[in-house]
Structure formats: C-alpha cells, structure tokens
Symmetry: C2
Subunit: 341 residues, 2 copies
C-alpha cells in the first residue's frame, strides 16, 4: 500500500525526517531551496502523508466528532455548513446518527472517545443522561451543542430562540385579527425546543390579553398523521378555533390535510401555520406560513465556535441564540378575509 514514508523522502532529498515534516507543516522555517527539493521528491515518488501516524505521534487527532440525534433536511444543511468550516481547517468529520437510540448513541460516543476526537458537535441533544458526553468533556474535549441548548449550564452552544419564534408568529396572527388561536404542539414532551414553542404561544396570548384556553390545545409529536388527528379533534369542537399554530411544518401539513379532506379551505376556513420552514413547505398547497430556523447558520457558527475552543483550550464557553424569522405564505390570512360562518 502506501509504501513511501517520510524516511524515504528524507533519504532521497538528503535531509532529515524532521526537515521533511517541517516542509509539510511549517514550510516558512525551512530554506527555500531545501523546501523545493523536498517537495520535488514528494511529488516524484508519490508520497502520501499518513495522517493516522501523524495523529498518533502528535497525541491528538484532527478529527471532529459530530453526533446527530435525528436527521431532517434542515439538520443536513447544518452539517454541510459545519463540514465546510471544518474542511477549511483541515479537520475531517466522523459523523454518526443515533435516531434517538440510546444504545447506538453510547456506542458512537465510545468510538469518538477511542479515536480521541479533537472536538465534538452535538446536534439536537435532548435527553438528560449525558454521562458519556460528560466523560468526553471531562477528558478536555471541547463540545458544542447545536439546536438544543442546555441553558444555564457552562456548555457552549449555538441555538435559536424557539420561544421567541413562536411568540412572534402568534403575535403576528393576533395582529391579523385572530383571537381564538388553537395549538398543536407536544408541550408535554421531553424535547425542550418543542416546549419552548408552546411557551412562546402562551406568552403571546398573554401579552395580547387573551386567556389561554387549553381546550384549543392538542399535544402531538411531530408526524403528519398526528397533525391530521389533532386537527380533526379541534374541528370537532362545538366552536373550533379558526386559526391553528403548529409546532412543526409536518404537523401543519397534517392539519391542512385534515381541513382539506373535511371539505374546508386553508386559509379561508382555517388558518394554519407551522414551524421550521422545512424545504418542502414552500411547495405544499397552500404554501405554508412558518417560522424559519437558521439551520445552515447554526452549523457554520457552531463549527467556528468549536474551532475557537480547540485552538485555545481555556476559552470561555461560547453561547449564542440566533433569531428566527417569520415566513409568510398563503396558509394564513387576516381574520376579516376568512369565510363568515
């Protein structure tokens, strides 16, 4: 396989291995003539650097572990952006998705530990048992959390303000004349970011002097079918809410389907809004009003933060909450444009 080593190059170039090493990593400290000779030899004999040996010798690796708890296209955008930053710094990425399987997750983290990763990017973490992550952190491996922020801790993270995003949306709906606003949201789940969205909904109502009516709220984890069912329930109420705020675009699409199947129109009979700005939400029918989540930006800033932490170990934790933006499309409209019932 890769037979040519640094020793061969050194011999052929008539220098020591140290000089060859320097020629690769700190070229400015070697004499221009020597540098050129060494580089020439490397080209000629097809030398390929052995990064494993390098990592081993350096006693630290240039690998970034990325742990993804679940994948959506938005997450993929984060990962791509993060990858770009990492590549620019010559760090390859070991990526693993656990799909919320704790066993798989432990296994992957174990691997990261064994490989002595230079840092970790953890996307969408939500569970409480951080044991292995704690262990990794204790070994001095810098970790940056994405999407899911553990507020109040010393951890570095780049997240976004779910509560604020939801607040802004509901606030906007109220300004459009909606007063009885329903909500489909897993408010009782363990997923912090979903709970936060519910809190934003509550706060917006309160801020506008509207009493929270729990009969207009349905808990549902984020699937199309759940959204549909929840919406059916809401439509079956004696006086159903005419405007529904969903905790995700998938839920919203389920809700839209329920409305359409019942022979009603979105937005003229029911307004429906989502959260995430998934890549399909512009293309569904009607195009979905939603809250855009800055997936790509999180990935980029998250990895940049990680690079900082790797560079100077004693750096203070980096904590960032990005802002979300309302994306208004045709699935909602001012209350006065809706059909009278």
């Amino acid at each position: 396989m890769g037979k040519v080593t640094i020793v061969d190059v050194a011999r052929l170039a008539g220098v020591s291995t140290a000089t060859v090493s320097r020629a690769m990593h700190t070229p400015h400290v070697v004499h221009p003539a020597t540098l050129e000779r060494v580089q020439g030899v490397m080209r000629e004999c097809g030398y390929v650097y052995n990064a494993t040996a390098g990592d081993f010798s350096r006693r630290r690796s240039s690998i970034i572990g990325v742990l993804i708890l679940s994948t959506t296209t938005k997450v993929a955008a984060s990962v791509s952006a993060a990858q770009e930053v990492a590549t620019a710094h010559h760090f390859p990425l070991i990526i693993s998705t656990s799909g919320f399987d704790p066993l798989l997750e432990r296994k992957h983290l174990q691997q990261f530990l064994q490989r002595g990763v230079a840092g970790m990017l953890i996307i969408g973490y939500l569970r409480e048992n951080l044991s292995v992550i704690k262990e990794i952190q204790q070994r001095g491996v810098p970790c940056v959390f994405l999407w899911e922020a553990l507020r109040g801790s010393e951890d570095s993270y780049v997240g976004f303000d779910n509560e604020q995003g939801s607040f802004a949306m509901v606030n906007f709906l109220v300004s459009q004349g909606h007063a009885r606003i329903g909500c489909i949201c897993g408010f009782d789940s363990g997923v912090t970011r979903i709970r936060k969205r519910f809190e934003g909904y509550c706060r917006a109502l309160q801020a506008n002097g509207i009493a929270l009516d729990l009969s207009l709220v349905r808990s549902a984890t984020s699937t199309f079918a759940n959204g549909k069912n929840a919406m059916r329930e809401l439509m079956a109420l004696p006086e159903p809410p005419r405007c529904i705020c969903c905790a995700s675009d998938v839920l919203a699409m389920g809700a839209v389907a329920a409305v359409t199947e019942a022979g009603y129109s979105v937005p003229h009979d029911f307004c429906v809004v989502g959260f995430d700005n998934s890549d399909f939400s512009a293309y569904v029918c009607p195009p979905l009003s939603t809250v855009d989540v800055p997936g790509e930006k999180m990935g980029r800033l998250g990895m940049q933060a990680l690079m900082q932490l790797i560079r100077d170990e004693k750096h203070a934790p980096i904590q960032k909450d990005l802002s979300t933006t309302l994306v208004l499309r045709q699935s909602c409209c001012p209350a006065h444009q809706m059909n009278k019932w």
Copy 2:
C-alpha cells in the same frame, strides 16, 4: 487526557501487553480467569482504547470514507442505513459532501487517502474525472458506488434501474389510456441516471407503438422553478400533452404549481407524475404519483458489499441493480376520468 495505557493495564493485571490486547480483540484465546482480571483492571482504572494507535500499529485503519456528491433526504436514508451496518462491524464513518465542487471533492478524497481508509462508499458519482478515486483504488482500497453505477466497468456498485422505473411508470400511464405523454427531464445532462429515465420513457412509448414526439419533451435540471417553467411551456402548446412524466418529484411539484396557478386541476386537467418518492411527495397537494427509489436498501446492501470486499481482498466485484416500485397517488388518474376539453 487519556493517561491510562495498555501498559498500565498490563502491569496492574500482572500480564503482558500482548495479553491485554488479546483480551480486547480475541478474548476466546485468553484464559477466563486472566480475561476477567484484565477486564476488571480496565474498568477500575478507566482505560480507554486508543484507536488511533491501534490503527497505526495495525497498518490499516478501521475508518470508512463516505463521499457524498449531493444530499437529499433519500441520500440521508442511504447513509443512515450504511452507518448502521458499519457500526455493527465497528467501523466509524468519515463523511464528506462535496456539493459537486471538484476542488472540495479532491480535498476530501485526499484526506481519505491520508487517513488510509479501509474502504470507500461513493454516493452519486457522475463525473468522468475519477483520477483521485482511481488512485485510491490502485492503492487497494475497496470502493463501492451507490446510486450512480458505472456499468460495464469492474467497479462494485449498488444501484437501481432508472430506465426500468421510468419504463414501468410510462407503461402504466399508457395502460390508463394516456397516449400523448409529455416529459420534463434533463435528458441532455451529464447525469447518467437522469438520461436513463428518459430512455425508459422512450422505450415505453415505443413498446406501446407510440411515436416519440420531441415537442412534448422539455429538458430541465431538477429544481422547482425549472419544473414550473417547463410546464408553462408545455401548457402553451397549441395542443398540450394532458399527462406529464417528470424525472424527479421536485420537477413534478413545479409542474403541479404551474397547472394550479393557471387555474387548472391536477389530475383532472393534467396528470403529473414524478420520480424518487421524496419524503414530501405524499403530503403535497395532490399527493404525487411517483417511482420509489430504494434509498435505505441501497445504503444497507452497499455497506454490506463493502464489508465483504474489505474482509476478503480478492473478492470479485459486487454489482447489484435494485428494482424500483410504482407509488400511485392522486396526481394521476385514468384518461377517461379527466375533464373533456
């Protein structure tokens, strides 16, 4: 950091490092009592295996390189499945996406080479300049191609039959009474799998005695906007085709949008079908008829093939074409159920 090494464990357990190594990798050859003692020591002193050192010493790494040319959710499904298989064999994955940027791609492949990856999974490759991949292959690193198969070569791949999928769909449409079937497809692009879809379309027409009418065909790369534009053009024809076969779901959704905006109905004025069975295509309006691509299965079988190739080096190339399946939803209907014009 990870201070405890195999030497410490050996000393504390009163054995040699060789035995500790064996206890980890080939436990069946060490005496049960010794095994237990060693494992006990490892637990007690928090020993963490150093995989970099292991890889280095073993002169081959346990890392699989995965090169992804572009990402869709379907690709993500492939990667997840592949990862599962790899994890079961204790291989971590280094993943990189190039987004069709040749420079980035070279950089990533270089990294794979330097790290001495055990094997490579290459997803969606389509360009001709395989130089770095060739180099990797020449160094004896087994490579398996996914999605995009280079037929006629000695390369291993797991793909699916694009031509057959497209053929089946068009054939079905003909059986439903459609005769003038339009096509939106980048038939002139460099992407083999897209060209194949066009060939399937042509062959199906031919098999049913329908002459190919190029005026009903529009070339378009796979974006929503392109699909919309192409459909507009087709609708502007003196006698537009009432049934349109698109090379991807995204194109199909663009086409549907064009139809809807023009005040027509899908499927009663125009039937539209896609290809891919993207995860949103069940939720758009109307739900899209399409050809399902076995993303997850490809990932799984592809990685299994790679494991085989890694295990016995002289294994013959593994070449598989999976079949696609028609997914029929509401975006098409029998010709006789359509509005008369």
